[in-house]
């Protein structure tokens, strides 16, 4: 585990007792610890999250009284996106959790602009943006659900134990299964294929990377959700057995669900409504997911590759797979999905 991840996880675990010093006050203390940790490891991130955490609700209240909801939403969304891009494109900047708090900031702005939520109070907004367990690994939880959880939470020993167990299983998954077992297997595959065709070797290693990524990311997410549950807060799930998906679209709706749902709500649906084209919505959503990972030409091509995969999996693949018995189709589907996902790297490598 990186020293920083360990530090944030330990800080979140140490903050668990503080969370029980009051229903909302407890989560305020967790936010305070989060701000302190963030200020220590990345003062810039802390200044940005706290600054916007305070400024945004105040500006929203002002706009609610005096008008100007749309201009404020538009300008702040552009600024948030600009800061995200600037931080991504400046490798020297230590920017912790930006990929997640940017989406949370945009979620608040979009929901407020559409009139689905009123301007949150400064305290509520800071509690939401600075929820330590979800700081650097997500999920991208929703403000209204989080507020409800904070208001209704109460001490429950079974929940606490379930959370603690989830933390342990998550750490085991990320540290041992992902980082030791799969990493060793990956090294063996690389060694065994040392003399093979470079394209095939890259494809096989890329497949191993996807499996390792799953155990690492799902494990770290389990730690985040587990610590949150120990604090009495049930966050949105991020995975729903992605390797049981029946096709690529199904996979993306089961993998990193909070990101996919975010893109569905704020990219796919608006673009589809504007253009009346499912394909345009899909391309835009996949492009957002790709650029969220990294602003680079590689990820632009990666987005198109994923879009192509989704289109093929809903058009040509059902016809190709129809002669196979349903049971065999279900068994082969995860392999086909993994093969397609892993194929992105060697194919894009050829193009670049």
């Amino acid at each position: 585990m990186t020293a920083l991840s360990t530090l944030v996880i330990l800080a979140a675990l140490l903050a668990v007792p503080l969370a029980w010093l009051g229903r909302e006050r407890g989560i305020d203390l967790v936010a305070l610890v989060c701000a302190a940790v963030l200020a220590w490891i990345s003062p810039l991130s802390a200044a940005w999250v706290v600054g916007l955490g305070v400024g945004l609700p105040l500006a929203m209240r002002l706009a609610e009284r005096n008008g100007g909801r749309a201009p404020l939403a538009g300008v702040t969304a552009l600024v948030v996106l600009g800061v995200f891009a600037a931080a991504q494109l400046s490798p020297g900047i230590v920017w912790i959790g930006g990929a997640f708090f940017t989406l949370r900031q945009l979620h608040v702005i979009a929901e407020w602009w559409m009139g689905r939520i009123a301007a949150p109070s400064v305290a509520s907004h800071l509690r939401y943006q600075l929820f330590l367990p979800a700081l650097f690994v997500g999920p991208v939880h929703h403000l209204p659900a989080f507020e409800r959880q904070c208001q209704r939470r109460r001490w429950d020993l079974p929940d606490f134990l379930n959370g603690a167990e989830r933390v342990l299983i998550g750490a085991f998954s990320a540290e041992f299964i992902g980082n030791v077992m799969i990493a060793n297997l990956r090294a063996r595959v690389g060694h065994a294929m040392a003399d093979s065709n470079a394209f095939l070797r890259d494809w096989a290693i890329s497949a191993m990377d996807w499996i390792m990524l799953f155990f690492n990311f799902a494990g770290m997410t389990a730690i985040a959700l587990g610590i949150a549950l120990m604090m009495g807060v049930r966050l949105e799930e991020n995975f729903n057995r992605p390797w049981l998906a029946k096709d690529l679209l199904d996979f993306w709706s089961r993998w990193h669900m909070s990101l996919t749902n975010w893109c569905r709500d704020y990219i796919y649906r608006p673009v589809m409504a504007l253009t009346r084209s499912t394909l345009a919505g899909l391309v835009a959503a996949m492009l957002a997911i790709g650029l969220w990972h990294e602003i680079s030409f590689y990820y632009v091509l990666w987005s198109f590759w994923q879009t192509l995969g989704v289109v093929l999996s809903r058009t040509i693949m059902p016809n190709l797979a129809s002669p196979l018995p349903p049971g065999l189709r279900r068994m082969l589907a995860p392999l086909a999905i993994l093969a397609w996902l892993a194929l992105a790297r060697p194919v894009i490598g050829l193009l670049l």
Binding site: P158, I169, M220
Partner: protein, 51 residues
């Protein structure tokens, strides 16, 4: 009962659930402590950019 305890309860007699659960926790904890000396692969989803 936690999810792991429920799972173990399906496999072993009732009296053995506690000890087996404790053993599982101990093994996982020790494994995590030993394995955590390795650096976790730097993945995009663990957002500690610039580190």
């Amino acid at each position: 009962m936690t999810p792991l305890a429920q799972y173990i309860a399906r496999l072993v007699p009732g009296w053995a659930v506690g000890p087996v659960l404790a053993l599982c926790y101990a093994v996982m904890l020790i494994t995590v402590l030993i394995a955590s000396s390795n650096d976790l692969a730097q993945i995009i989803y663990i957002d500690v950019r610039g580190q």
